[in-house]
Symmetry: C2
Subunit: 146 residues, 2 copies
DNA sequence: TCCTATCATGGGGTTCACCCACAATAGGAG
DNA sequence: CTCCTATTGTGGGTGAACCCCATGATAGGA
C-alpha cells in the first residue's frame, strides 16, 4: 500500500527544509545572526553590490523585510548603503571587509550544517540532489540566475 | 567562481520548500484547509488511528499545535477523538468516512502541486529526487517510519 | 506639465514552529 | 495504601518569516 506522504515531494521537501532549518539554527545559535543575514552577505559577496530592489529579487525576499535586515547589518557595519548618483531613489548596498570576515565565519557554520544534513549521502548523491533541487526552482528563484 | 548559495543544500532546499509551499497554497486556496490538515488526514488514512501524542510524533508536529488542528477537523467531522479505555489520559484519533472523502479531494490538489513543482524533471529524476530527500531525513522524521 | 512607474521604507497581519505551564491520569517505589 | 515522577491533552504566549498595503521621493515618458 502506498503512503502518500512519503510520495509527495511537496511534503518531503517541507520536512527536509524544516530539518535543515533546525541544523542551521543550531549552528547560528552562537551569534545574533539569522540565515537571512547570511544570504544577504553571500549574495553581495558572490555577485557584487546591488540596488536593494535587485537584491530583494535575487534573494526572493520581500523588499520591506530586506530593509529591516539591512538596517541591522548596516548598524553593525557589515554592509554599507550609498545613494545611486544616477537615480536618487535607489540605494546601492555593498558588503564591507568586516562583512566579508563575518561571512567567512558564517559560511563555515552553514557548511557544517550542510554536511550534517547530507551525512547519509555519498558525494555523488549530494551533487545529484543539489542539481535536481536547483532545476526545480523557476529561473527567477534560482540563486545564481538573474 | 563559486556561488555559495547555489551550492548549499540547506539554502536550496529552503527555496524549493517555499516554492512548493506556494504551489500547495494556491491549490488549497479554494477551501479552508491547510497543509497540516492534509498531513493529518493522510497519516490517519495511511497508517491508521493513533493517540494524539503518537500522531504528533509521526507528523513531527508540536502537540499543542496538533490540538488546534484536530479541533478544527473534528468540528467539521473529518476526524473523531475517542477516549482510550486503557489509559484515560489518551485520546485516540481516527479519520471518518467524511474525512476520507475530503482526503481524496485534497490529494488530487497536492498531487497537482507536486506535478507543477517537478515539471522540469523526467519521471526517473522525480523518483531520484524523492528517494534522496527521504534518505536525508532522520529516521524519526521519516513519514513512513516509526 | 501631468501621469504613471519605481524606489526605499513603515506598519500591520497571518502562518508556523516552538516553548512553558497545568490539571488529570498512570505507574512504580517505598 | 502513600508519594514521586512521567505522560497526555490543552491553553497561552513568543519570535521568525512571509506577505500585503500605503506613502513620500524620484524618474521618465506623453
Amino acid at each position: 500500500m502506498t503512503h502518500r506522504l512519503s510520495d509527495r515531494v511537496v511534503w518531503l521537501v517541507g520536512r527536509v527544509s524544516l530539518h535543515a532549518q533546525r541544523l542551521v539554527q543550531d549552528q547560528l545559535a552562537t551569534g545574533p545572526h539569522r540565515k537571512q543575514h547570511y544570504g544577504i552577505l553571500a549574495s553581495l559577496a558572490d555577485r557584487g553590490p546591488a540596488v536593494q530592489a535587485q537584491l530583494a529579487d535575487r534573494l526572493q525576499l520581500d523588499r520591506s523585510d530586506l530593509v529591516s535586515f539591512l538596517d541591522e547589518l548596516e548598524a553593525a557595519r557589515y554592509v554599507v548603503r550609498r545613494g545611486d548618483p544616477d537615480d536618487r531613489r535607489r540605494k546601492i548596498v555593498a558588503i564591507t571587509p568586516r562583512g566579508q570576515k563575518l561571512l567567512r565565519e558564517l559560511d563555515l557554520l552553514v557548511y557544517s550544517a550542510d554536511d550534517q544534513l547530507l551525512a547519509a549521502l555519498s558525494p555523488d548523491e549530494r551533487v545529484t540532489l543539489a542539481r535536481l533541487l536547483a532545476r526545480v526552482l523557476p529561473d527567477a528563484d534560482r540563486p545564481d540566475a538573474g
